[in-house]
């Protein structure tokens, strides 16, 4: 099934995939991680991708984020077909148009908070809206710690730095890979709240992979993957509705 509404002409897509397929290995060991997924991520929306292990949710995100390449089909960020980019262009795309929040090990240990936040721009032309950077850091509540090193921060604080970094370049889209997977529920809630505010108040586009129904409930829309295909999607999820869906899919 396709998750892209065909009628909404006024919708702008921050990123989308068109018949995206990904095959690992070959011959007997061939694994189809994605089987012709077509999906769009609307600008200014918070999308969660769920699915059991091996469902292809991480692969989908990696391919859409330009960290991995599709076997067939295309992935777009903005209007750019990632398949047409070479490694250098792809790197530049990640640097300028994509933000990342990983589950752990998000920060370069030798750089302090503000340096980690500006890292993508420093890797590029270094042009960055300083006021915006500070605003973002203030917003994630680390304004008084800008020159701390990662090892001087708690896990939750480190994730907040990661969020700030992802937002600092005002990317087309931010991808989160279980961004709160390593955090306790209270800290998780803080981070997720902040991510949702970034979408609502700043118009940021966020896509995150998660397996936790509560986490998914912070999003505007949940996509469910199984066996490399999108099997269901849900608008305005709640923890219970997500859980129910997971259960129903499991049957």
């Amino acid at each position: 099934m396709t998750a892209t509404p065909t009628t909404a002409a006024e919708v702008t897509w921050a990123a989308r995939a068109d018949s995206a397929s990904k095959v690992y290995g070959s011959g007997d060991t061939e694994v189809h991680a994605l089987r012709g997924v077509s999906v769009g991520f609307e600008s200014g929306k918070f999308t969660a991708i769920m699915g059991p292990s091996g469902s292809g949710k991480s692969t989908l995100m990696h391919c859409m984020a330009g960290l991995d390449r599709l076997t067939s089909g295309s992935a777009f960020i903005g209007g750019t077909d990632l398949g047409t980019l070479n490694d250098k262009q792809l790197t530049k795309m990640r640097r300028e148009q994509v933000g990342f929040i990983f589950q752990s090990f998000n920060l370069v240990p030798t750089l302090n908070v503000v340096e980690n936040v500006t890292l993508p721009s420093d890797l590029g032309d270094g042009k960055i809206d300083k006021d915006w950077v500070h605003e973002v850091i203030e917003t994630v509540g680390l304004g008084d710690r800008i020159s701390h090193r990662p090892n001087e921060l708690s896990g939750g604080q480190q994730q907040r730095v990661a969020v700030a970094r992802a937002l600092a370049t005002r990317p087309e889209i931010v991808f989160g890979d279980e961004p709160t997977g390593n955090l306790d529920s209270r800290t998780s809630a803080e981070i997720l709240d902040f991510m949702r505010r970034a979408v609502r108040e700043l118009g940021q586009t966020i896509v995150m992979v998660t397996h936790d129904p509560v986490t998914a409930s912070y999003s505007d829309r949940v996509l469910f993957l199984a066996d490399g295909q999108i099997v269901k999607q849900m608008e305005d999820p709640t923890p219970d509705s997500v859980l129910d869906t997971i259960k129903s899919l499991g049957d």
Partner: protein
């Protein structure tokens, strides 16, 4: 447990292979030194045995206490030959005379035909006989105006049997000789030396020696060796002895063996230095490997492995590496020795061939050395591994480093005695340059270790500081490189240490060389006032004093002074004394007259000021002396001088006196001045008409003399530095290894950087600059240490040899750049590998 060790080795094969290389290089050096020296010794032993195969006894002069003629032997009357030959016990006796250098064949263009390095021997030869050391390759024994030359000399000169060959003679009048034969020494080559053989009468004539010989070689036929000696003994005057053929062969072999031992020991010395550098690399690798396996070790501890077992595991790993490295190094060394031997054999030096000597001692020493060095270097990491607590299996990252206080104390404990020894060698009350330098050497080794330990204390800050310009010019790449270079000070220090030692030694040698040259420059300005010098530039050998008379007779020369080196008893002790043409000597050199008259009387003596002070002598002191021929007299101190740089000896006598009492009237050095306003070029041309007849002589003015010495010193420096470069190679592998391990450790970080937008070339640049910062840190430490060592050595070496510290600024800059370049090259493979990491794999790397 062995299974774990094997798995561990297999998992880290690449790292360990690089470590292996650093051990292998050192071990191969040791093995090559042994095998080459043993093989050369065996070849030369064989030559001696071949050459003296038919010699049952040799009659010769008892080595006197005084021998000014040096290598040239003590001569005696030839009448003894007939007496010996007349004995019924004697089958065949041949008297001969021999000279070291003295005659040379000339190339068709008049240039001297001599080997580079090995000597040229002149000898009488009676043709093939039971006692002959030579075998004819082609032609017949020389007779009258004929000469026989060895095959390599004939080849070099393009001479064929029957050709007329111009020979330069010590008399200064070259003559034509017909080449009667091409010969070999013993059964094979001559080891690079040249032989000029004439019949006895001709040899005596051209050596200007009268009817004297220096040995009789005897074949006793069936006579028992002892009986032969007993029969000859009574015929001989007091100072002539007879020794058995075996003794002669033994002495020859001992003499060659001595040279080979020195050669072999020098090589071994370098091998030890290389091994010393290797230990730092091995230590570093093991330390990093243990660090990276902390979790695994913690797991092993938590499931019941004891600390001892863990320690044993690491040590067994070291033993396996040590054994493998030793074996590879053993064969590597044998290969290198073989290659060098082949090079000698085919190098046109007619080096005789022989089997490679691989003695059990070589194998045992090499394997032991490789093993001990590896295991020793792994002990500290092994102990650290055994201290990993079971909890660290579950704890994430955050290895705890040994406290800096411990390092400070331990480093100081090693460094302080090192510095004390250095200072003792420099300023201490130690007799003898050799023991001073030994003290400095041991002090240097300890200082290296101490500095290496202590450098961890400041490596972080130093790397951070060195990284400032990198960050300023390279932006974020530079920033990350700088941070990475300074984030693990212990590792940076250990990596830099290997480079430090290599560059410290090279810098030390450069400082010594520069100091030597600076001293020499000074000396030349002050001490040499001659317009031209005449001397034998190849080996500094004596030549006929007739050169002095002939040059003096020229209209275009003003003052001509010859300098002879004679051995004599001065106040009861054997001393090397300079014979000085006192009327003209101070016109060509300036010995730094402190007190007294410039012109010594015939019975005058000049004494170096320190020596005079030591002995309590002053002007007017009477000193008893005895010359080589037994002549005794009293000399009066008439001159005190303070510059021994040209007059190397502590005593000067009047050459008019000394020449009358030596066996061979020769000089070592002639200085010439031109009259004021003379046409220097014309005058020089005149001088050369004389010296051209002595093919071995070199004529040089001040500038040329200086260039010559600089060239020679430079060559020595190149050879030593060349051998020391091996240390840099080891350090280079060490840097590759550390960089590779660091990159591996930071896999996730690299993945993250790539994910958030670092390009491959940025990543490579980051790693490259990190290596450059570490290398430059090592290079700076090395250059600093090298300056210290060079300075220490200059202080320890007597002022008469090196009195001034010279700093080779240009070379230092080059070494710094070399350090940086080593970093760049060493970073290439780790950087390439890192840039090829798959971003996703890297991020999820455990």
């Amino acid at each position: 447990m062995l299974k774990l060790v094997v798995r561990g080795i297999r998992a880290n094969l690449g790292r360990l292979a690089l470590t292996l290389i650093s051990v292998v290089l050192g071990v191969a050096f040791v093995s090559g030194s042994f095998v080459l020296a043993d093989s050369l010794r065996s070849i030369f032993n064989q030559i001696s045995e071949d050459a003296f195969a038919g010699v049952d006894a040799q009659v010769r002069a008892v080595e006197p206490e005084l021998n000014s003629s040096g290598e040239n032997l003590i001569r005696f009357d030839e009448s003894i030959i007939a007496d010996v030959q007349a004995l019924p016990e004697v089958e065949y006796a041949e008297g001969g005379i021999f000279a070291f250098e003295q005659t040379y064949s000339l190339l068709p263009d008049g240039e001297i035909n001599r080997p580079l390095g090995p000597p040229v021997f002149t000898s009488s030869w009676g043709g093939p006989s039971p006692v002959s050391s030579f075998t004819i390759v082609e032609g017949e024994a020389p007779s009258g105006q004929q000469v026989a030359l060895d095959s390599s000399q004939a080849t070099a000169g393009g001479f064929a049997v029957g050709d007329m060959v111009t020979m330069s003679l010590p008399t200064g009048e070259p003559e034509q000789f017909q080449l009667s034969a091409i010969i070999d020494f013993g059964d094979g080559g001559t080891g690079g030396a040249y032989f000029n053989l004439f019949d006895l009468d001709t040899t005596q004539r051209i050596l200007d020696a009268g009817d004297v010989i220096d040995s009789i070689v005897v074949n006793g036929g069936s006579t028992d060796a002892d009986a032969l000696l007993t029969a000859i003994e009574p015929l001989l005057p007091a100072d002539i002895e007879v020794v058995s053929g075996e003794t002669v062969i033994g002495e020859q072999q001992e003499e060659f063996g001595g040279f080979i031992d020195i050669f072999g020991n020098i090589l071994l010395g370098f091998a030890v230095v290389v091994l010393f550098v290797s230990t730092f690399i091995i230590y570093n690798t093991f330390a990093i490997l243990v660090g990276q396996r902390t979790k695994q070790l913690g797991l092993l501890r938590s499931i019941g492995a004891s600390g001892t077992q863990i320690r044993l595991m690491v040590l067994i790993e070291a033993v396996i590496i040590g054994i493998v490295a030793s074996i590879v190094g053993l064969f590597g060394g044998i290969g290198v020795a073989w290659g060098l031997k082949q090079l000698f054999s085919t190098g046109g030096n007619s080096f005789p061939d022989g089997p490679l000597q691989i003695q059990p001692r070589t194998v045992i020493v090499v394997v032991l050395v490789g093993l001990v060095v590896t295991v020793l270097s792994a002990i500290l990491p092994a102990i650290r591994a055994s201290r990993v607590s079971p909890l660290e299996a579950v704890r994430d990252g955050g290895r705890k480093e040994r406290s800096m206080t411990f390092r400070l104390v331990a480093g100081a404990i090693v460094l302080l005695p090192g510095l004390v020894l250095l200072a003792l060698g420099m300023f201490g009350d130690i007799d003898g340059t050799a023991s001073r330098l030994t003290s400095i050497g041991v002090g240097a080794a300890l200082t290296f270790i101490g500095v290496s330990m202590l450098s961890a204390l400041f490596a972080g800050r130093a790397a951070g500081t060195l990284g400032i310009p990198v960050e300023a010019t390279r932006g974020i790449n530079g920033r990350l490189a700088r941070d990475n270079a300074s984030r693990n000070p212990q590792r940076t220090a250990a990596t830099a240490t290997a480079l430090m030692i290599g560059l410290a030694l090279i810098t030390g040698v450069a400082v010594l060389t520069a100091s030597l040259l600076a001293t020499f420059d000074d000396l030349l300005d002050d001490a040499l006032t001659a317009d031209l010098f005449v001397y034998e530039a190849n080996q500094g050998l004596d030549f006929s004093s007739s050169v002095v008379e002939q040059l003096d007779a020229l209209d275009t020369t003003e003052d001509v002074a010859g300098f002879a080196i004679v051995e004599m008893f001065v106040d009861g002790e054997v001393e090397s004394v300079t014979g000085f043409d006192t009327a003209t000597g101070t016109a060509v050199i300036n010995p730094g007259i402190v007190d007294g008259v410039a012109e010594l009387s015939e019975r005058g003596l000049a004494v170096f000021d320190e020596t005079a002070a030591d002995r309590g002598w002053a002007l007017g002191t009477t000193v008893p002396v005895e010359f080589e021929d037994g002549f005794t007299t009293d000399l009066t101190v008439e001159l005190i001088y303070d510059d021994r740089s040209i007059v190397e000896n502590a005593f000067i006598v009047n050459r008019e006196l000394s020449r009358q009492h030596v066996q061979i009237d020769a000089v070592a050095f002639v200085g010439v001045t031109f009259p004021d306003g003379a046409d220097a070029a014309a005058a020089r041309a005149d001088v050369e008409t004389v010296t051209n007849n002595f093919a071995q002589l070199t004529v040089q003015d001040n500038t040329e003399f200086q260039e010559e010495v600089e060239g020679q010193v430079g060559q020595i420096q190149i050879v030593i530095s060349g051998l020391l470069v091996l240390c840099l190679v080891v350090a280079f592998f060490g840097i590759i290894n550390t960089m590779a391990l660091s990159v591996l450790e930071r896999t996730r970080e690299i993945g993250l950087l790539r994910a958030v937008g670092m390009t491959r070339s940025q990543l490579k640049s980051t790693i490259r600059w990190e290596a450059v910062i570490v290398s430059i840190f090592g290079a700076l430490l090395g250059i600093g240490m090298g300056l210290l060592l060079g300075w220490a050595a200059v202080i320890a070496i007597p002022d008469s040899f090196i009195s001034k510290v010279g700093i080779p600024w240009g070379s230092l800059v080059v070494y710094l750049v070399v350090g940086g370049v080593i970093g760049v090259i060493a970073a290439y493979f780790p950087a390439r590998r890192a840039s090829k990491l798959n971003v996703l794999d890297a991020i999820s790397h455990a």
